[in-house]
Symmetry: C2
Subunit: 560 residues, 2 copies
């Protein structure tokens, strides 16, 4: 029959997960994530997968199936549904609520968002999709078994195995049964494939958090954690109840999570939640402030509390601040800044590097092996992760009796063909990164980013000259303006030199044979570079703007 | 007598160390470092301390004393000697060579750079400075005991205790003797104050590296480490000798280090060093390529080898790449990029997170306690480190019987007064950050950085209008140019809209009462913002340039 598996995002990176399974005129998409840009993508808000392949095969799309509600799995949905016709989206209850919030915020009117649970079976002409419950750092995480005419494809979604979880157990038995019935291809989460052993159980985290609460009975506790980690929050609420503390929430995403969790029934103690004002009227030992900002995000609640700029909360010397989190790579500097500010206020800080008060949501090596053993697939495709994670995960599969030649370490856009139970590589489709900046998708390209990097290093210098080409005359001293290079009013002499040098270059260029605007602009750029480099040791982006006064009278402008 | 201790850099931060000890008309400066800018300081090359205090007290400066040759202790010297008269610089042999290289590179003619060793005593009218050898990740690291009329001040410099070092042992006995004779103030390195236990011995690192060499007999070994870590390099050379491998060096700083090390006699096997070309003619098992680039620096040797852009070295599938290093905070993303590239080439990679093949040069908590116990000072001032490190170090001192009230956790610029053996806080002097960008010191200020941040996020939009104020006329459609915002040629309609909107604003402004240029510019900025935000979801820096054609004929320009 020929079923195809096409990763459009999530391979060679952590983020923007999106996987396509196609058979004849049917396409199922699994997940639709965003990635947060790295430091080099200046000013970019999100990175999403290139949707070209989907756009070109729009008429085949039957459904988008969401494994769980993290941004790297649902964040792309608003952009996707605005550019592609997606007839149905299936999501588990928690993810569905989060997606609806996104639609609300962006005024998107999408009507075919459906819920599934572990017992749902989605049927199309060629596919039967079943689900199995997994454990992850957000509730309602699921893996998929996609029955195709060419064999069963299993995608784990994000997962860990936790034998003593706070929420429901992974459905080991359903996984085992699917495995027994034969799996052609297993695609499994590689995020923590570099980490040996077994991940810390959420119960141990909770025990350790509980000990801090017991030890700090009389102190106000300020606790920051990932807002999406509903089970962690559920436990914190229970711990507060046990310790007779009320909880005040800080940060919009924290409020959203608790809203949704109450709505979905993950916890029920509505009365324990109080307002910031009420919290300020209770004794320190009677409250816990639950905040966003565990990553040191400058505008998040904890950062503002640490800086002393929070509207409602001022730190007191006996406060306890707990980071039930670990810094995502790239955030360690901003987390350090927040911690230093907290130390300066004299409060006591607990972090995960001191005591085990956070656990990742992803499986370590021993758990990854268990997953491979449960499904005992014929072919193995590590997904979700940077190349070294995928490669290391592939090596783990080899230890679990998956022959090396049956393992595929891929890139986004690679096409796998599953034909009567046999998997082979079969070409490539368009895949890549699209930048979202502001409200516009994809119109900030690498040229714009390159300019931003140049300007961020050395600024921009604009030279404006009015010329009269007919009479080969520069009409006045060129005007100079600059940003991010030098301060104009502190560098009057240098500005004068730049003006004079520009005038000389322009006059020479005007009198040259074959005068044209582009040559003149290049002359200005090339002529000024040595001067600027010599005087300041750096060269900004030089933007010459030359206007022909005669042309302008005909209402034309020359600029680039 | 009143001796004063003034930190000008190195407190509340890791970097730009500089400490002043002053008595009457004498000033001794200890160390003169740079700090590498964090991500927010766009385009800045170095951060140095504010030298205002030194400038104002220039005539009192007797000498600069250097503890060791790392950039955060010597990197500021070229900037300092160009703006302040420093009569003498004392440095240990290795640091002296490194400082001379700096002078050479910058064509600085400084003639009073002197060497000291552990037996040197520097005497001035009020001070007697003695030295004690410490262990650190660069040879020739020393601490200072400064005898003043008001008591002895000890500064440890950067240090660790290693009971089985590769180079010479710390001089425990000299430290003990100084301690026995009475120390008024101990200032001690806080860099690793957050890390429990004892640091890994360099001998263990070397043993583990040796095991990799033994296990990979037939493979080419590519090894990246910090170029300044002479003892690590010494051991690698010895391991190569034992394993009958020749060594080729890649990266200028690696070549410099080996040059200086041979000159200073840290190792002698000149013959083991071969050229890249020679290395390419030997069998894989007969060579070791020693590279810079352990931090993923894009232009360093290892990064270019990993990217396949190195002129001389191409990776082969059986190569072994060893990172004998750990990523400095902020570099983990670039290190990951390099590692992913190496995995893609199919080579085997060893990092410190897999096996102990790197050790920090700084003391962990147990070693810090030993230092405090050896000197048993009356007063304790933690230095070198972020606030939380200083604070934690102060807590460690309390465990070692230093009364809390005798410990000072300070900021740069705080003044300590030592009067007949008693230490008190005594006001503040000017201290802060000065940015070096290109060749100019301090002329890039926070206003320029702020512009760079704005431009790096959203770019810049320049609107140029020629007007005739006399006749209240806009002479032509305003010209538009932009960088880092949108691409002009892909957004013709938007550019047209911006031109029209600008024309409308300018015409209105021209006809208003009390016309002036600044108001018009503000009108343009405020008038365009909603349009730009609406159309693109982001607002660039808007630079309106309005030129009065009548004024220009008198050869004046209006720009800002």
């Amino acid at each position: 029959m020929n079923t195809r598996i096409i990763p459009l995002g999530g391979l060679g990176e952590v983020g923007k997960n999106m996987y396509v399974v196609a058979c004849k005129d049917e396409i199922i998409i699994v997940d639709s994530g965003v990635m947060f840009p790295d430091d080099e993508l200046l000013g970019i808000d999100y990175v999403i997968p290139d949707y070209t392949f989907l756009k070109e095969n729009e008429h085949k799309i039957k459904a988008l199936v969401i494994t769980h509600g993290h941004e790297d799995h649902i964040g792309g949905i608003p952009f996707m549904v605005q550019s592609i016709n997606v007839p149905k989206i299936y999501a588990p209850a928690n993810a569905k609520e989060l997606i609806e919030k996104k639609f609300e915020e962006r005024n998107i009117n999408y009507r075919s968002l459906l819920t599934y649970d572990e017992n749902t079976v989605i049927k199309t002409k060629y596919f039967n999709i079943e689900f199995f419950r997994t454990t992850h750092s957000i509730p309602d995480s699921h893996g998929l078994a996609i029955r195709t005419p060419d064999g069963t494809i299993v995608m784990t979604g994000d997962f860990k195995f936790d034998m003593t979880p706070i929420g429901p157990m992974s459905n080991l038995h359903k996984m085992a049964k699917i495995g027994e019935n034969g799996v052609a291809v297993l695609m499994s989460d590689s995020t923590n494939a570099l980490v040996a052993g077994t991940s810390l159980s959420e119960s141990v985290v909770d025990e350790n958090l509980g000990e801090i609460f017991t030890a700090c009975k009389g102190n106000r506790i300020i606790l920051a954690t990932f807002a999406s980690n509903v089970y962690r929050i559920k436990h914190i609420i229970e711990t507060c109840k046990k310790n007779k503390r009320k909880i005040a929430l800080f940060g919009r995403s924290m409020e959203n999570t608790v809203d949704i969790a109450l709505k979905c029934g993950y916890f029920k103690d509505k009365n324990i939640i109080i307002s910031a004002e009420e919290a300020n009227h209770l004794k320190p030992g009677e409250v816990c402030l639950l905040c966003t900002g565990s990553q040191g995000e400058p505008l998040a609640a904890l950062s503002r509390i640490a800086s002393g700029t929070h509207r409602q909360i001022s730190l007191m010397p006996n406060d306890i601040v707990i980071f039930s989190s670990s810094p995502i790579p790239g955030n360690s500097a901003s987390v350090s800044k927040t911690i230093n500010k907290l130390y300066k206020k004299g409060v006591k800080v607990f972090t995960n590097s001191m005591s085990d008060i956070h656990s990742s949501g992803h499986a370590n090596q021993e758990e990854l092996k268990l997953m491979i053993r449960l499904f005992k697939p014929k072919f193995f495709v590590p997904y979700h992760g940077e190349f070294r994670m995928l490669k290391t995960h592939a090596d783990l599969a080899a230890l679990c009796d998956i022959p090396k030649e049956n393992t595929f370490v891929l890139e986004n856009g690679d096409v796998l063909k599953l034909d009567k139970g046999t998997l082979t590589k079969d070409g490539k489709v368009t895949a890549g990164e699209v930048y979202v900046d502001g409200s516009r998708i994809g119109d900030v390209g690498s040229a714009v980013i390159k300019d931003r990097i140049l300007m961020s290093n050395n600024g921009v210098l604009v030279i404006i000259a009015n010329i009269d080409t007919e009479n080969q005359k520069l009409l006045a001293t060129p005007a100079i303006t600059t940003r991010g290079y030098i301060l104009v009013n502190e560098n009057a002499n240098l500005i004068k030199e730049i003006q004079n040098a520009s005038a000389t270059i322009i006059n020479k260029s005007l009198k040259g044979r074959n005068f044209n605007f582009n040559d003149m602009k290049n002359d200005i750029i090339n002529g000024l570079m040595p001067l600027l480099s010599d005087k300041t040791g750096r060269v900004p982006i030089i933007l010459p703007i030359v206007m022909d006064i005669k042309q302008k009278e005909k209402n034309k402008t020359n600029s680039f």
